[in-house]
Symmetry: C2
């Protein structure tokens, strides 16, 4: 007998019990995200993202050349990972089963079940939300209008590999491999979940990155906010209270009836207002040192995407930059000093000033060279050249 | 500056420092595996494995029909996973780089590096060994002779998902999904590592299961023994001291020069001689209650593979069986009671009798129905039928 069948509607599992490795369920859930969101949001054209603009030469010829060079994989490990992700993204969708599977059709039970599948596939956090029409891109890279096809979203979150983040400078050769490690696992999990949902009789679409694959028809940040994965941070991206900025996400859009999660409030808005360590550590000075502004209907610290993308695509001593991820105090692992500080920020507002100072001191913004296990090297056409500092090159 | 470049040959990292999540390095390493292995080993013909024999009808028509039915995926979740694994296995090998990458060619450094890549890709244990010629299959499924092509092996081990094992009866619908979850991740990691090694200038071949993919040219158990992943267990398969039987492995065969690991001795031979909990819990009585025997040059408790395979392929209330994995006390997670018992077995021989009794009491051989999150159902041709006990079917 399945525990799901014993549920009555007043006694639901979502709010009862921690499903995954992190206690998302105990966080303070709220009706609306902690940043103001208006109804006046323009859908984004995929051709006008930072990647699109950089690739079209809008950030100048040096950046454009960098895009062309970096996309095929500058570094042997990330090039290997890219081959695997590219291959995974070639999988063909199985058909949607003609009949619904003989399982309970209760959205609460289905939500619990699909989240369980995600955790089983090594997700660190799972979430659900309704997809606001404004979260859909307006046009794809080819300029074809994108349909606001699905109502529900399943969010899959995976932590970035912390050992490599800790060892790295944040903007060396390990940037791409760290991101691609998440994308490999997210792509596989998203494709498996979407395939499974289609077998159960509902349509589903697996959407995941990185940019060279880009299976997205939606922007992730609005969905991460709605599903209570995190709050908006000073770095202009979503921050989770247990993973900090050290995660990547994928989404499965679906017709399966699901109960949406609620946004969360863990005190980040006042934390980020005061901390600024990510902005101080940003090598391209792309992160705002100032206050939040309104941008396309969202209250946010506005990232200078041109500076961020330009640094990434012209970085001569590494691949993509992770400096904000690395320096953010919330990215730290769950050990007692970090958990203590996290707890103070979340639950004891009057200690927040002290907690922010402590968090900054505990941040892993410095590299740890003795834990570095990779080699500095770079593709120069078809051969690999060393980029080790002491290699004389 | 890379720590690897500071090494002198007398001060090697492998024996110094725990690389992965489990302290494999502190185990007692020995020259030879703890079970006798003679030089008189016949290479196995892939057509004569239990799967091959069952599929050819050598175990009778009912079992043969079961093979045909079970291979395409009896259960919607494992069928979805199978689609993804099948797709991953279609990836084409990238070419071996014409020139070696500008990295240290020291085998100790390369071994440390490749293990680091494995851990970065979520491996739980990594190992290396020389490949004995006898570990190669003699012929593939089509009867083509198999070449003893590569000298070195990189072993990738991933833990099976313990929550599902704990909730499961051990021989219900979750058997295949649990194994396939490991195979999905192993396949992706093995393909990534092999691709990366080829980019560095050495040939490599990613080999992983399950049976419907079967990219193996080698048998895994001899390699797992040689690489010190575990000792032979009463269940007739290799047991790791931190993962028990709850793991799957894959291998990357390669020409890259590597330093082999040594076999380990953690006291399992006398433990399994006395414990027998796996044999007691085996629903097909396939596991020996007796002593070890010599079989094709290996001293082992001899699994009755016909009984094991026949049960698996004719299981009407589930997919493949995991009962030995589930009941083995060593499969338990690393929490203090289990670690205490493990420590006694390994380090305090005179307490072993007590420790075996304690281990048996702590074993997770009973299912936990209230933690079950999946639905009992089965493909009947193209439709899915419920197999819930209380569904009236």
């Amino acid at each position: 007998m399945n525990r799901m069948e014993n549920l009555d509607e007043d006694n639901l599992p979502r709010t009862q019990k921690q499903q995954g490795p992190f206690p998302m369920e105990v966080l303070k859930h709220v009706e609306e995200p902690t940043n103001t969101i208006t109804n006046d949001i323009q859908r984004i054209d995929m051709r006008n993202t930072a990647y699109g603009l950089a690739g079209r030469g809008e950030y100048g010829p040096v950046v454009q050349k960098g895009v062309q060079k970096s996309l095929p994989g500058k570094y042997p490990l990330s090039a290997a990972q890219k081959d695997v992700i590219d291959h995974i993204a070639l999988i063909e969708n199985n058909p949607v089963a003609a009949n619904k599977a003989p399982i309970p059709q209760n959205p609460e039970i289905l939500t619990y079940h699909i989240k369980s599948v995600g955790y089983f596939l090594k997700a660190d956090v799972m979430g659900t939300c309704k997809v606001p029409a404004s979260a859909y891109y307006s046009h794809d890279k080819q300029g074809t209008p994108i349909d606001t096809r699905y109502e529900n979203a399943v969010i899959i979150v995976m932590r970035k590999e912390l050992k490599a983040i800790r060892a790295s400078t944040g903007h060396d050769w390990m940037g791409d491999p760290i991101s691609f490690q998440s994308y490999q696992h997210l792509g596989m999990a998203a494709e498996t979940i979407a395939n499974y949902i289609r077998r159960l009789g509902w349509d589903a679409s697996a959407q995941y990155g990185p940019s060279f694959v880009n299976r997205y028809t939606v922007l992730l940040p609005p969905l991460l906010l709605a599903a209570g994965i995190g709050e908006i941070s000073r770095a202009g991206i979503i921050l989770n209270p247990y993973l900090g900025l050290a995660f990547k996400a994928a989404v499965v859009l679906t017709d399966m009836p699901l109960v949406p999660d609620q946004p969360i409030d863990f005190g980040l808005q006042s934390f980020c207002q005061n901390c600024k360590i990510c902005a101080e550590n940003c090598p391209s000075k792309a992160i705002s040192m100032g206050d939040k502004v309104m941008y396309n209907g969202y209250e946010t610290w506005k990232l200078n995407t041109q500076r961020c993308a330009s640094f990434n695509f012209t970085n001569k001593k590494g691949t993509m930059c992770n400096a904000c991820v690395k320096s953010c105090p919330w990215s730290n692992p769950s050990t007692w000093p970090h958990d203590l500080v996290r707890g103070l920020v979340m639950k004891v507002p009057f200690t927040r000033k002290f907690a922010i100072k402590a968090a900054r001191l505990l941040a892993m913004n410095k590299p740890i060279p003795e834990e570095k296990w990779w080699f500095d090297m770079e593709y120069a056409d078809d051969t690999i050249e060393s980029r080790e500092k002491n290699s004389g090159q």
